[in-house]
Symmetry: C2
Subunit: 576 residues, 2 copies
């Protein structure tokens, strides 16, 4: 199978398609992004400048039918953290890339015009034998939903899209890239790190993949591949039933029970109105209003944690996930699913990260400008972004910027990126992840949540809520997740035999002989390369959580974040 790399230069408007060179053969998804960034992007470049690149990459198992292997990785130098960023999303984009024989898609340069008159806005339309940059300035300031409807009318309803909303066009650090889901709705987002702002800086509103002729996968040993892959898929379906019923929102109950559900800007760990935003409550509403649950986010997904939330009249609003419910619900003292879904919808349409924006609103609520729970004003602020309101832009720039402008010192960010919905005083493995991840605070980087411990039977990772072995735990998770994200896989498929399964399938597909240890090394190499990029960009090897987590007792558990500072600081040193 010959794969290609497509390069689109937004400065010269030139397009180039080259076969994947030999030294990139074994790089996909997250590892492809790290490799290209470290070789081609000056680490100290301005994230919104001429020299940053926006990279889309399919994983090494994408399109093979291996469970959950069709996520799309996007990356670049992050406008939010100033460091490396890989963010991945569901949708059909990676799947179509495979059939277009595209391993990676690299957007380079930017139009030479100043911010005062950036009138031009392009859409890249990609089909198997033709790539075109179409001027689509009529999409200026349009939300993702309207944008994708328009694109589907123009280019056919079967296209897969990546697009930005007004937030991306305004180059805000909280801007996402939206991907159309399996139904053509742009509800899947590469949410974290402000990648939408890079796309906006390049005046690229959208990318359209026209479905190509289905490509025959060529296996070295198809029987062996299917044997492992299909039985694994079946197993996932059986074991993840709770996720396909309740989805990630089941975590609301779990985290609240542990006293680690972010509430009122991480002031508390339990929400007194948790019943109104629980996983059960959501499930009730989904059933009652003819919503959907158990939906896959991308082709080959066997976990099916996604859903579709309808309003009271039964009209679809959006999919809704745990992180959004917590960061836009309990953490803002908002207890109404209809409000949360509306906020989620607006963020999706504007192209804003719900985790970052939830935190940004929470920090704003620390100031005299906004009260906790004031959802009417919250909706006003979000809606204001369509008009470019200044307060809306501030919120869209993320929690750290809100803190700067309004003089707030309780700002839950690491490397400038806001915390996902796990209080680090309770979930100490997550705390370690937030502190040391090259991505900044990112739960997916080392998802040390309930039930994920126990990677290495010879290591003592401690219990969920103590600080024993948590640096080891997050590191071991980082390596596996990084490897999985190079495959294009969702980290939900992680379990004790995952290395063996990937090893067998890579050999059955490509003939590569990569032992589980080699795959572990692949994960280490990915992390090491990312840290090197960060260090060259001027970031430090690790960071730490904001000091208030070390000093403020969480009332519910009477605990603080207490992973020793030196353990955090030296976490990655053995890689170097």
């Amino acid at each position: 199978m010959m794969d290609y790399i497509l390069r689109i230069n937004m400065n010269s408007l030139e397009i180039k398609k080259d076969p994947v060179p030999a030294d990139l053969e074994r790089f996909g998804g997250r590892s492809f992004i790290g490799k290209i960034l470290s070789e081609e992007v000056p680490p100290k470049c301005h994230p919104l400048g001429q020299n940053n690149k926006l990279i889309f990459a399919a994983g090494l198992l994408a399109g093979t039918g291996f469970p959950n292997s069709c996520r799309i990785s996007v990356g670049g130098k992050s406008p939010l953290t100033g460091g490396i960023k890989e963010s991945n999303s569901g949708g059909r984009f990676a799947y179509e890339m495979v059939h277009l024989a595209l391993r990676g898609l690299i957007v380079e340069g930017k139009p030479t015009m100043d911010a005062k008159n950036n009138e031009e806005l392009y859409t890249a339309v990609i089909e198997s034998d033709n790539v075109e940059l179409v001027e689509t300035s009529e999409l200026k300031n349009k939300g993702n939903y309207e944008t994708v409807s328009w694109l589907r009318r123009k280019f056919g309803s079967r296209i897969a899209t990546a697009s930005i909303g007004p937030a991306g066009e305004l180059k805000l650090s909280g801007a996402t890239i939206a991907f159309s889901d399996l139904f053509g709705v742009p509800d899947r987002h590469a949410g974290r790190g402000g990648l939408g702002a890079i796309m906006g800086s390049k005046s690229l509103k959208a990318m359209v993949l026209k479905p190509a002729k289905r490509r025959e996968m060529k296996f070295r040993d198809e029987a062996s591949f299917k044997d492992v892959s299909q039985s694994f898929g079946k197993k996932l379906i059986e074991t993840k039933r709770v996720f396909s019923k309740f989805g990630t929102p089941v975590m609301i109950d779990v985290c609240n029970e542990h006293g680690g559900l972010p509430t009122q800007n991480f002031r508390r760990g339990r929400f007194n109105k948790v019943d109104k935003i629980s996983g059960n409550k959501l499930h009730e509403l989904l059933v009652e209003r003819n919503g959907k649950f158990g939906l896959p986010c991308s082709p080959s997904c066997c976990v099916k944690c996604s859903n579709r939330f309808n309003d009271a009249s039964g009209k679809p609003v959006t999919k809704i996930e745990y992180e959004t419910i917590a960061m836009m619900g309990s953490n803002l003292l908002i207890d109404d699913y209809d409000v949360i879904a509306r906020m989620n919808y607006l963020c999706n349409d504007l192209g804003l990260d719900t985790i970052e924006t939830g935190n940004a609103l929470a920090v704003l609520m620390e100031s005299s400008l906004l009260d906790f729970g004031d959802h009417e004003k919250v909706l006003q602020i979000l809606t204001g972004l369509y008009k470019g309101d200044i307060l809306s832009r501030i919120v869209g720039s993320g929690a750290a910027v809100v803190g700067k402008i309004f003089g707030v010192d309780r700002v839950p960010v690491v490397k400038g990126q806001a915390l996902p919905a796990y209080d680090p005083r309770v979930f100490k493995g997550m705390a370690a992840t937030f502190a040391v991840s090259p991505m900044g605070a990112d739960h997916t980087a080392g998802p040390a949540i309930p039930g994920r411990a126990g990677l290495d039977p010879n290591k003592d990772y401690g219990s969920l809520t103590d600080n024993v072995g948590k640096i080891d735990l997050t590191k071991d998770l980082h390596y596996v997740v990084a490897m999985l994200e190079a495959m294009g896989c969702c980290y939900f498929i992680y379990h004790n035999q995952i290395m063996e399964k990937v090893s067998t399938c890579l050999e059955a597909l490509h003939g590569w002989k990569l032992s589980p240890d080699d795959l572990l090394q692949m994960g280490k190499d990915i992390i090491k390369r990312e840290i090197e990029f960060n260090e060259n960009a001027g970031l430090s090897r690790t960071d730490d959580l904001p000091e208030f987590f070390r000093s403020e007792l969480l009332p519910e558990t009477e605990d603080v974040y207490d992973i020793p500072e030196n353990a955090v600081k030296t976490a990655w040193d053995d890689l170097f």
Copy 2:
């Protein structure tokens, strides 16, 4: 002479006065700040949080009559850069500290109240036998001028003050601390790095020093001290006549001639209306309107580069300096001294750094929100800060934040601090200073401007505008300046024999035997300690200038910033 350290805890409202401990005996001004910060402040603390400290320190030669030795150093972990910050200012504060026998003044903690109801605002009133925290909430949101008038009415016209304006109360990263000058007017500022925001975070509006009984200086060898000190003073008066006539604004002409006067957000190096903002033009206006020039900024100053600018009716407006004229004039395409003086006045009153704010406005002018030269809107934005307008807060948060919110990639900052008025493509020694200084972009850290080269006769520092030897040049300047700032001295007294003079005078005063080499080592130790603080805070050892200086030709000189990246990166490695 027994010196004391006064500690004011804004959390407990406790006050403590201890003799300077033996290990701090030889620390003053900038070195005192570095020492206290590295020993007492957690490098990763939030700059506006409970654990940051605001430190005021007099230099080791303050009050002795040594030329230009009465500047006041202020420091803390910078809200702007996130690293260490020492900023110094003229005024009478250090002089009064000496007579109150205070080497250092450390403000710790902050009231435990959230941003929503910080109603209390304190003034610390310090006399020789009494220190009091007075609640002065009536000063809330008052500008520095009104604040200090009120304080002088209440506590006597001979007080020396440090105060913040609305910018400091709002905890903006561009906020200064204002010091009353020799006439009691709060026109001198510790401008850089947002130290006013730390003071605001601690709910401290002002500090009042009541004049103490004049303290007799005790010299080991008074004759020798006076011999060196007085002849040095006379020499300075003779050689710095151009400064006492034209002040720093003479640099407008010099920099424009070299093609390195920042113009239109560093797009050009010469201003076509330079005649309207030149040093000559200012001098004409000063004479014509009965303004003043040749004013000292602090007791013992022999350079006298300060002035007082009057409006057309002859009413005093403000002092006005080179950096302000360039960054609020040519760099914004504003060519009217009355407008620039008005902007300067507003910044002084609001307590905003004119360099940071000038740059912030220039970056805003890159966006569609403001046009270059639109001084009416500029004045509106500045005035809007009294009402807490959101756009005004953004501008007051500095150039980097403006760039983030409005998606601008031509943002002239290093470590988040905006560039002073020397285009780094022309003034390559300054470029090196901006790149490597632990303070971020700060011309005073290693002032490699015309006439200051040639420190070490054995080194080749190249010419003013080439890149030869510039890392060596800035390092050598850094060491001397750091040492001088530990003495309390203005760097304008720098010349080839300065080490010998300081050495002789320290021995004549204290009996310390410190050779010129020991003083050089003192400078190195200061820089090293500052870099260590930064590294522990998560900053990198050096940074570099924004990439556009490397890629955009300056039209006038057809030059780019070209100090090799690796030379920048490794600049300080020999200290470690």
